[in-house]
């Protein structure tokens, strides 16, 4: 435990604080500390340094935390590089490469549009990537929906994000959502170029038009419209101290401080305050529906999906010629099979026939299996 002295933390580095902590480790139980157990912290809250063998209400085995302990090993260069994928605002970690808006659109249409929509419009629970011109829509960030007919702020990449590095890094590491880390660096440059394009942005005075080719050098010149839109300032040597100062003022973040003895006990609401009710049904799309009843769970109302079961268990043989099985959608073949009667078709399938193992080798129940047969028959009428 290093000394939890605010000035100490400000004036010296965290590392020095740490090493100080190692030597002066449990000396923190000085009379001053005992008197003042809680101290201001970077988040505006309190800290609970170890005092007399306790942190807050918890007992501490001080010896267990007093010395350096070492397990593990040093990572190899290859290991480090494999996981070191972050891209920082100044370009640290950003590889060389290039990609055009045109190539980006191709990748987007192939791998992104199914979720993010045409031109990044979003929808279906997936984020929008653009709502139009980033510079114009940046002006909407002061919008507040305090009246029903007011428009809200537009918070998309172009209008809101402070750094372009975030986009490159995120696409490379976490997109496409179902198969991440699968794009080449050039594809990522191309996608970033495309997203800049649909946000109608420019780099170094040049419009990112359909012909634009983005590379590392140009990327580092991107100036996001909302670069200065965030507080407190976290960059540079004073970053952490700016944060501490910011959260030491409750007004900055909508908080209220009060001495317990002086807290409001009467007339604590504005005279203008009224009871506001949920509009209509509000949000009530809850799954499962709310219920406080104690009963036996209902028999699963067949969450069974015949089409999916077909794909998983049957399609490998019944979807293609040459496997010897009647092909789904082949009306003549299935009409011939059905001359035996539906029950015979069921039982043949359940018990297996010719090259087909019982239930096609699946573990479906008889009922579910029959509904898959029905599915195939219906598709073959």
């Amino acid at each position: 435990m290093f000394k939890l002295n605010k000035k100490l933390l400000i004036s010296i580095s965290a590392a020095a604080a740490l090493s100080l902590g190692l030597t002066a480790c449990m000396d923190s139980a000085t009379p001053t500390d005992t008197k003042n157990v809680t101290k201001a912290s970077i988040d505006g809250g309190v800290m609970y340094p170890v005092v007399n063998g306790k942190t807050g209400p918890y007992q501490v085995n001080e010896k267990a935390h007093s010395g350096a302990i070492k397990f593990g090993r040093t990572p190899t260069k290859a290991e480090y590089e494999e996981w070191d994928s972050d891209v920082m605002a100044d370009g640290t970690g950003l590889p060389e490469g290039e990609g055009s808006v045109e190539e980006g659109e191709e990748v987007y249409e192939a791998k992104c549009v199914m979720c993010h929509g045409d031109f990044g419009s979003g929808g279906g629970g997936y984020p929008s990537l653009s709502k139009g011109n980033a510079y114009e829509l940046h002006e909407t960030l002061t919008n507040q929906r305090i009246k029903p007919d007011t428009d809200g702020p537009v918070r998309v990449f172009g209008t809101y994000w402070p750094q372009a590095s975030t986009l490159w890094w995120y696409i490379k590491d976490a997109m496409p959502h179902p198969m991440t880390d699968s794009l080449t660096d050039d594809e990522v440059y191309a996608l970033v170029a495309y997203i800049l394009n649909i946000n109608e942005m420019e780099i170094d005075g040049q419009e990112v038009d359909d012909e634009y080719v983005l590379n590392r050098e140009k990327f580092l010149k991107i100036k996001m419209p909302n670069r200065d839109g965030f507080e407190p300032k976290i960059d540079g040597p004073n970053g952490p101290e700016n944060v501490r100062k910011y959260f030491s003022n409750p007004d900055n973040f909508g908080a209220q401080k009060v001495k317990p003895s002086e807290r409001c006990m009467t007339n604590c609401q504005e005279k203008t305050a009224k009871v506001v009710y949920i509009k209509g049904a509000g949000i009530s799309d809850f799954h499962p529906p709310l219920s406080e009843v104690r009963d036996l769970p209902k028999e699963k109302a067949s969450g069974f999906n015949a089409a999916k079961a077909y794909e998983a268990n049957c399609a490998m043989c019944h979807s293609a010629d040459g496997m010897g099985a009647p092909v789904i959608g082949d009306k003549a073949a299935w009409a011939a099979v059905l001359t035996k009667g539906k029950d015979k078709v069921y039982s043949n399938g359940i018990n297996g026939i010719n090259g087909m193992p019982p239930k096609g080798g699946s573990s479906l129940s008889n009922t579910d299996f029959k509904s898959v047969v029905d599915y195939i028959v219906n598709k073959s009428k």
Binding site: S13, A15, D43, C115, E270, K271, R294
Partner: protein, 470 residues
């Protein structure tokens, strides 16, 4: 063997006899100068006899079949101990479950949340199966034998640890809540959910076991210029967040234990970062990498999201702690007071929590936050932890109430009114809403989620003001 009816008749006779004895004693007391204390002692003794002998019967009807008729579980074998070697809740509890809404989900339910039924929670611990679940790329199922933690960047000696090696460091066990800072975040512009689970269930509380990050760092030689730590997950979303050194060297932990067992996959098995009191999103799940640098990272989930846009058009970034907060948990829209009778004594119960410190008190209002009375804290009161509180109330049938709770912490904060909070941060903040919450008790005992607030207006310079305020 006596029939049930006969048994009941005999009991009634017993009771009637007791009552007659009491009546005659009372008559005697009136007619003679029997010492009052003697009378009270004798009646008390008779009452005890009556209670012990039978019970005070409500009617001469046959009674409750749940008592009168033998139940199958009372006469037949239960399961052998060899069944369910990992125990499951009673099947009758199937409605006590996490829930989700499509509004808060990506179409594939992988970047989504399922929330905790806090209307059913008791005490300050959330069972692992009910702990709220939020992921950005689905719930990863990691083989712990193949999982590594790598610590790199501005350290003299980078490190890679297996899970077995990580667990060799001195362990620390702490009870902390984890709260998504979007808890209540859909209700900045008015109430939306008539449900406690959805209005406040983006949080849970557990006893966590792991190691202090600072204990691992002691041997690694953090360089003087290191000001920030990146914590990154090993799941498909590679979720990352930047954390200042002060927190890293204070109480940040890497945890593998949750309520006495391994973390659930939904909580980041085999390990997650625990940043006590701070945004749940900072408690990176499936943790695989800690990197140290002099500049912050600008991760996606600390810029595009988890930032608080104010009416000035500026957004708060690195808004770490979940501020002091509370809610009434009983009654709730889900479990209301429709079964209460006039004059019933009922305990109003709730939760209070603060990511900035320890709860020091909770007040309760019956008029929507105009006037407050002091409630009592209950049970353990721990830093950055759910704290139970209660207030004993006599219910009047047909009375409408506006139940509002308001908590304070030892950092000196108190929950703001809705007006106080939105005047400062507006209604587009999404995150960190901690204004007081109100349940309306309707005449029939049903509970409705309401908000007590003023209509806002805007001055020419953009400043938010209360409409119509003199």
């Amino acid at each position: 063997m006596k029939t049930t009816d006969n048994l009941i008749k005999e009991k009634i006779v017993d009771i009637k006899k007791s009552q007659q004895d009491i009546d005659s004693l009372q008559a005697k007391a009136k007619n003679s100068n029997v010492d009052r204390r003697d009378f009270l002692a004798k009646t008390a003794a008779l009452s005890v006899t009556a209670l012990a002998g039978t019970s005070l019967l409500a009617s001469e009807h046959a009674g409750d079949p749940s008592i009168l008729e033998p139940q199958s579980w009372g006469t037949k074998w239960g399961d052998p101990v060899t069944k369910n070697l990992y125990g499951m809740p009673s099947k009758y509890e199937h409605n006590v479950t996490r829930r989700y809404t499509k509004l808060l989900a990506s179409g594939n339910f992988r970047a989504s949340i399922a929330v905790t039924p806090i209307q059913e929670s008791s005490g300050i611990i959330t069972p692992n199966g009910l702990f709220f679940s939020r992921s950005h790329g689905g719930i990863a199922h990691i083989d712990p034998n193949e999982h590594r933690l790598m610590i790199t960047g501005l350290v003299e000696r980078p490190l890679v640890l297996t899970m077995k090696q990580l667990k060799r460091y001195p362990s620390v066990t702490r009870t902390h809540f984890i709260e998504c800072p979007a808890n209540g975040g859909q209700e900045w512009r008015g109430p939306q959910y008539n449900s406690l689970q959805f209005a406040k269930g983006f949080m849970s509380c557990a006893e966590w076991t792991g190691v202090y990050v600072k204990d691992i760092l002691k041997d690694l030689g953090i360089k003087p210029e290191a000001r920030w730590m990146l914590a990154e997950g090993g799941d498909s979303s590679k979720m990352g967040r930047t954390i200042p050194m002060e927190k890293v060297l204070d109480d940040a932990m890497i945890v593998w234990g949750q309520n006495g067992e391994a973390l659930r996959p939904e909580q980041g098995y085999p390990i997650r970062l625990l940043v006590p009191g701070w945004e749940g999103n900072l408690c990176v799940k499936w943790l695989r990498r800690l990197d140290f640098a002099s500049e912050p990272w600008y991760c996606k989930e600390e810029t595009s999201k988890y930032t608080v846009l104010k009416p000035t058009g500026k957004a708060i970034q690195h808004f770490y702690a979940n501020e002091v907060n509370s809610t009434v948990t009983s009654p709730s829209p889900e479990i209301d007071w429709t079964d209460l009778k006039d004059g019933d004594t009922v305990e109003i119960e709730g939760l209070a929590w603060s990511g900035m410190g320890t709860i020091t008190g909770v007040d309760i209002s019956f008029d929507g936050g105009k006037t407050y009375k002091e409630a009592s804290l209950k049970g353990l009161v721990l830093p950055k932890c759910w704290t139970r509180w209660s207030y004993v109330h006599t219910y009047k049938k047909g009375e409408e109430l506006l139940l509002t709770s308001r908590a304070m912490d030892d950092a000196g904060y108190i929950q703001p009114t809705i007006d106080q909070e939105i005047l400062k941060v507006g209604v587009e903040a999404v995150y960190h809403r901690n204004a007081v919450e109100t349940w309306k008790v309707e005449k029939d005992g049903k509970i409705t989620h309401v908000e007590v607030r003023s209509q806002l207006d805007r001055k020419a310079n953009g400043e938010l003001v209360i409409e119509g305020k003199a």
